[in-house]
């Protein structure tokens, strides 16, 4: 026990060290692009010329990569007031994330409703498994964004199309994993259920579902990961709201600090989603 604890402590220290090193590299690399250094070296004439050319000397807005200080103030600014809403192009980061999470949640939930029952049926019936297999094999590798034009044309609503794209990318891993999990439930557990004359519904919910649950949850976890990857791209295309739109909008504003901040938030939220599914997976996993 103590060895694993010291290992954990060492790993945490090392992580912190790596983090500080990265920040250090960032600090050193962006130190020259800061505003102060450049202005001090200029003669008054040069400064005047620069002003006439529309360049604010000494202003923090520089063309280079943002410094750590600028980044810090941006992060603080967003996190201090995450829920403001100043019209369509200026919303708090929490509101943007909530829009993205809402789309992902809805698309994912729809995918669960379709993939898990269908996967169950496919897993139980070798005939259906073979019949569905070619469709799954062809549809699975399609990039979810390739569906976007078709979705926009048929659904005629950009927001719903986003949800559809999430749905279509979440469906396959869940479907395949559910079918696999159900098909590989141990024969002996099914035999126990048979000798106990368990009716099909009880057998499905009390034997097959718990037996296949770890595999199904793995599929859901993979689906959620893909959905979170796809939502950013989908929102860049669809626009309006969401973290993907925020990234694109801030790119158009040439505000790299905001883009970097959004990237970090995408990573953190993705990690939290994965952790949540990891916990769920732990809850249904059994040791044989």
């Amino acid at each position: 026990m103590t060895t694993s604890r010291t290992l954990q402590l060492k790993a945490a220290l090392l992580s912190a060290l790596i983090f500080l090193t990265l920040l250090g590299i960032w600090y050193v690399a962006t130190a020259s692009s800061g505003a102060g250094g450049a202005a001090a070296a200029m003669t008054p004439e040069q400064i005047e010329y620069a002003k006439m050319m529309g360049k604010e000397v000494g202003a923090t807005k520089s063309g280079g990569f943002p410094t750590l200080g600028q980044m810090g103030s941006t992060v603080w600014g967003h996190l201090a007031n995450p829920f403001y809403d100043n019209g369509p192009n200026d919303k708090g980061i929490a509101i943007q994330l909530a829009h993205s999470l809402g789309r992902v949640g809805l698309g994912f939930a729809l995918a669960c409703l379709v993939a898990i029952p269908l996967g169950f049926i496919i897993g139980m019936s070798p005939l259906l498994r073979r019949a569905f297999d070619p469709f799954i094999q062809v549809l699975k590798p399609i990039s979810p964004l390739a569906w976007m034009p078709l979705a926009l044309y048929t659904i005629k609503d950009s927001s719903v199309s986003g949800i559809f794209v999430i749905f279509i990318c979440s469906v396959w891993p869940m479907l395949v994993n559910t079918a696999f999990g159900v098909a590989s439930v141990k024969r002996e557990w099914l035999n126990v259920a048979s000798t106990l004359e368990v009716n099909p519904l009880r057998r499905a919910f009390l034997v097959i579902l718990p037996a296949a649950a770890p595999t199904i949850l793995t599929g859901m976890r993979i689906s959620m990961g893909i959905a979170w990857l796809v939502i950013v791209a989908a929102e860049m295309l669809v626009g309006g709201t969401g973290i993907g739109y925020f990234v694109w909008n801030e790119w158009n504003n040439l505000s790299l600090t905001n883009v970097i901040f959004a990237i970090l938030m995408i990573g953190v939220v993705g990690m939290l989603l994965d952790l949540a599914f990891g916990q769920l997976q732990k809850a249904v996993t059994y040791v044989e």
């Binding site: 002996e188 557990w189 035999n191 126990v192 048979s194 000798t195 106990l196 004359e197 368990v198 009880r202 009390l206 034997v207 718990p210 037996a211 649950a213 249904v284 059994y286 040791v287 044989e288």
Partner: protein
């Protein structure tokens, strides 16, 4: 050839007077197996023409080499497999599928690893009596867990139990639905010798108390002698000079030892070595090359 009269039958079988509860009436025929056969290749059935009966309250063991079809016979009796030919009747009705009337103890314990011991047995009890309230189910579960001496582990998951404890739970589950008969498929095959002995004793005590009818598969000669009232010796199918001969029951041996025998005293009983040698000789010389 398999209808030869076994010399063993000549030994007088005298049920011990101290055990008057043995309710075996010779004409009862509680479980009847008639001309059962199983063939994966039509020309070469694994076994054919297997007929025997079990009386109510009787403990019958089948012993034979791997591949002779013991497990297939048991699965047919359980309703989990179908025979290529022949019929099985229990209590006058043909066996056509699995039934709660026949409790099965599987080779691997077949406990559901996501349920605790209590939940595993409650699942069986609830399947048997769906209308029972939770409290009544719980009473039944605790009674049968106590019967195999696992009350202290009732809320543990199977993964937290030893192999012997798991198999005990499997036995408790089979008994908890109070079936008309029990089918045991090498229940102690995976256990070490010491654990095996202890559970054999437990099983014997429980079977004697409940007067359960039992059909059991085993590889272990001593286990068969200890537990069984009657031992069916099975031969494998084999190629002979006269063509292929399917496997089947070569001999039925009635156990002449007193019914209240114990594992510890078994090898001191008169007739034990004679019986044991007879079965071992069968397995070594006659079971395969028929």
């Amino acid at each position: 050839m398999w209808s030869e009269v076994p010399s063993r039958l000549a030994t007088p079988v005298s049920p011990a007077p101290s055990l008057p509860q043995r309710k075996v009436s010779p004409v009862d025929g509680f479980l009847k197996i008639e001309k059962l056969s199983k063939a994966y290749q039509p020309a070469k059935p694994v076994f054919a023409d297997v007929s025997f009966t079990l009386e109510r309250g009787e403990f019958v063991c089948v012993i034979g080499h791997s591949g002779c079809g013991k497990t297939t016979i048991l699965n047919v009796l359980a309703g989990l497999d179908t025979a290529s030919g022949g019929h099985v009747f229990m209590d006058g009705r043909e066996v056509v599928g699995p039934s709660l009337d026949r409790g099965v103890v599987f080779q691997g314990h077949a406990l559901m690893p996501w349920l605790t011991v209590r939940q595993n047995i409650a699942f069986a009890v609830k399947s048997r009596w769906p209308e029972w309230p939770a409290a009544k189910i719980n009473v039944q579960v605790e009674k049968f867990v106590a019967m195999v001496g696992l009350s202290h582990a009732i809320d543990k998951k199977p993964s937290q139990l030893s192999g012997g404890m798991k198999q005990r739970v499997g036995i408790a589950r089979a008994f908890s639905i109070q079936p008309k008969m029990l089918l045991l498929d090498e229940p102690f095959g995976a256990l070490d010798a010491l654990t095996r002995g202890t559970i054999q004793d437990e099983l014997m005590t429980i079977v004697r108390q409940t007067q359960q009818t039992v059909f059991m598969i085993t590889h272990d000669v001593d286990e068969a002698i200890l537990l069984a009232d009657r031992i069916l010796l099975m031969s494998n199918g084999s190629e002979t000079a006269n063509g292929y001969v399917p496997g089947g029951i070569a001999e039925e041996v009635v156990n002449p030892l007193p019914r209240e025998r114990t594992r510890a005293g078994l090898h001191h009983l008169d007739g034990y070595y004679e019986l044991r040698n007879h079965i071992v000789d069968f397995l070594v010389t006659r079971a395969v090359a028929h």
